[in-house]
């Protein structure tokens, strides 16, 4: 595994933190987890759907998944302090194993934001051009870099397996450049792996309804193939879109499967997933664990604040929450509107 990106993460992290020594740090009044927001500009040309019933295949297959998480630890007078962590997890012979990378802590300011991001990006994706990034998007963008590195590493490590991604296979966004995702998918195919990308929430609608609601009356496990989907440039769909209802209950998810693999192989991949992984609420346990293992708990946030306080001598402050001060129990807190 090429460890140059995590190594660079460490260097940039330490360098950014060293510059903020002895500065007071303002704690977040409400620390909450990073949630990726998938807003895609997708639309359907016509109503063509195909129901695909599934039969679980128990042939021994490695199931792997990747997820990352970012969180804001606090604010300084110059910027914000964030933490990033990623997990790759696999299930083989009924046992789980994982690699968890991080947390990496960064002090991001308006001044160093671009430099930090481009330094990290060039380490692993040198051909990619750096697009402008907003201050509030930077934690998500940096977590995405780590996620892409984990995905790229995993698809080259595992063979003949099913690799689960969190999100869609839509490329052409600042987070997911088309050629980068294409390379990951190609590397996966080369190793005999199939990428299945699960989207927890989708905005894609059919006949006015969210597509994941269209399957609720079907008998699981089954897929609905959503064909004739088009994207608005510069977005590119590198996967075929399905709605997957894998277990009994009112849960269905958008599922993207690599476009370049034959149709039958796509269906078989989902059937092998059902036959090899535990599924609850139509969601694969391996992907759920990837999320659980990288998510920051409140205790970990306190521990990281303790780390920067101890190591870099930062003073923690707790500024009064004006919403709470002014509106009492009716004030939700200003940070509840913040997206990081």
């Amino acid at each position: 595994m090429d460890m140059s990106l995590p190594q660079r993460f460490v260097e940039v992290s330490i360098s950014s933190l060293k510059k903020l020594q002895t500065r007071p740090i303002q704690l977040n009044q409400q620390v909450f987890q990073q949630e990726s927001i998938n807003q895609e500009d997708l639309y359907m040309l016509q109503s063509s759907q195909r129901l695909v019933p599934l039969n679980p295949r128990t042939i021994e297959t490695t199931i792997a998944a990747v997820d990352t998480s970012s969180i804001k630890l606090g604010e300084t007078s110059r910027g914000i302090i964030i933490a990033i962590r990623g997990t790759a997890i696999w299930k083989r012979s009924h046992r789980y194993g994982y690699i968890r990378v991080g947390p990496f802590i960064f002090h991001i300011t308006e001044e160093n934001m671009k430099e930090i991001y481009s330094t990290l990006q060039k380490t692993y994706f040198p051909e990619q051009t750096t697009s402008s990034t907003g201050f509030t998007q930077i934690p998500t963008r940096m977590a995405n870099l780590l996620e892409k590195w984990l995905q790229a590493s995993l698809v080259q490590t595992i063979s003949d397996g099913i690799i689960l991604f969190d999100g869609s296979l839509t490329a052409g966004t600042p987070d997911t450049p088309t050629h980068q995702l294409r390379e990951i998918l190609a590397a996966a195919r080369k190793m005999g792996n199939t990428i299945l990308a699960f989207t927890k929430t989708t905005t894609l609608r059919f006949n006015g309804y969210i597509i994941t609601d269209t399957l609720l009356n079907q008998k699981p496990p089954c897929l609905i193939e959503m064909s004739d989907l088009k994207t608005k440039p510069p977005l590119v769909l590198l996967g075929d879109v399905y709605v997957a209802k894998l277990t009994i209950g009112n849960y269905a998810f958008r599922l993207d499967i690599d476009k370049e693999i034959p149709s039958q192989q796509k269906i078989e991949a989902v059937e092998r997933l059902i036959g090899n992984d535990l599924l609850r609420q139509s969601y694969p346990e391996t992907l759920r664990l990837a999320h659980i293992l990288c998510t920051f708990t409140a205790n970990e946030v306190i521990a990281m604040q303790h780390f920067i306080q101890q190591k870099y001598g930062l003073k923690m402050l707790n500024r009064p929450d004006m919403h709470r001060l002014l509106f009492g129990p009716y004030g939700k807190g200003e940070n509840s509107y913040e997206a990081i």
């Binding site: 997890i89 789980y96 194993g97 990378v101 664990l289 659980i292 205790n299 970990e300 306190i302």
Partner: protein, 485 residues
Amino acid sequence: MKLYKKEGNIAQILSFPNENAEKGDYLLIEDCEEGKALIVQVIDVQFANIPGVFEELLRSLPDGGELIQGEDIDPLEIAPHITYIQDARLLICKIRATVESGGENLSPSSSWLPSRSQSLIKKLPISTLLKLAKVDGKLPITLGGTKEASLLTIDATALDGRLNIITGKKETGKSHLSKLLITSLLQYNATVVVFDLNGEYGGLGMTSDGKRNPYYTKIHVLTPSQNFKVALKQLHLNVLLGILIHALHLPGTSTREFRRIWQFLKEKSSLTLHELGEAIRNWNCNQNVRDALFSRYYALVNSGFFTDNTAEAMLLEECLFKSREEGGAIIINLRNTSAIDRQIVVEYVLGKLVELLTSWKLKAVFLFAEEAHLYLRETYWDDIVTRMRHFGIFTTFITNQPDTIRDNIYRQADNIFLFNFTNENDLEVVSKAARVDAETVKSIARDLPPQHCLALGKVVKDFPIVVKVKALDVKTMGETRLFFL
């Protein structure tokens, strides 16, 4: 350490794993601006309620209860900080006192609130606490060592005129402590009487290897019906009536007749067992009364405790008078004595003590009573905490069944030496003691190792202190008889 909360006289302190504080430890919460400090004692150590810990524990066990095998690449080494926070503790502390003016004034007040942000919290060594509380004195008795290896030395005067209880479950060291107290009192020429139920105290005058120790001449072991007998003529009527009424349950009418018989024999100067038997046989009275008197008479005769041979009669008074000058312990060995005979002997000894103390022939006596419920009559319990204390009998009860001692004894006890108890009911009974709060008793006593006791009350100026009772070089006696050895 940081002050987290104060509710009533309970302070909660946040402590981290490297700040080693355990149950029983004392802490000083110093507010420099106020110029005051609170002395608190840790009565419980809990995990701090850290948000997210539950999620972390769940996260480590998602695979049907099996740990997921994995590798954490943690380049910034945050993991130790996570465990550091996870293992944070909350010390539940009881406020014991306030120190003012640089330690000069110590008051039991907890009415003020130290600063949460500015207060400095540090461990208060027991030796410093003892100095602050002035737990010393002219007649030191070293009980043993504290956790910090300093000695806990109490003042013998804190036992003088006091009611004490030594309690704990079996084989935790109760008798050992009472032996230590007895020998220490002997050093100060005190008179001690021990009701020795299991024959454990007979070796107090010998070292463990059987040689004589400095207390040898001061230990007087009296074994009823062997070297401890009494002649009727040495007895005061009231003492014998006490035995007949309380130990042998003689009814009132019969008691009246006995009193007449006694007066009759006394006038004839023929107070012997033989004459008493003859007098009852020939006395002009109701047959039922005669039968009642005869049954008691034979109980007295069969006890072997009474004799007509005055040379054979060991005088308790002699031992007590000898002890009066240079101190001494009279060990009443009740080991092989039946329940009725035990009561007869105890009634006699207590009656004699009261007689000698009321006539000021004795100044005061320290009475050590093991498992007193086995021989002490009902009405004596109240007597001991009220009347007898004024006569000069200062009792120490030793028991492994705390519920056999009445509640009012606990409430009035001046000192309690509490060994380990795990049973909830036992702890509940002991927690009724007035000199300590129930939480302290229940929390600390449960975790005491053998030979460790929690000293409560006046001996430690109401600062409960855990002490490992020091070893004593005396001959062990009264061991449990075993089948396999």
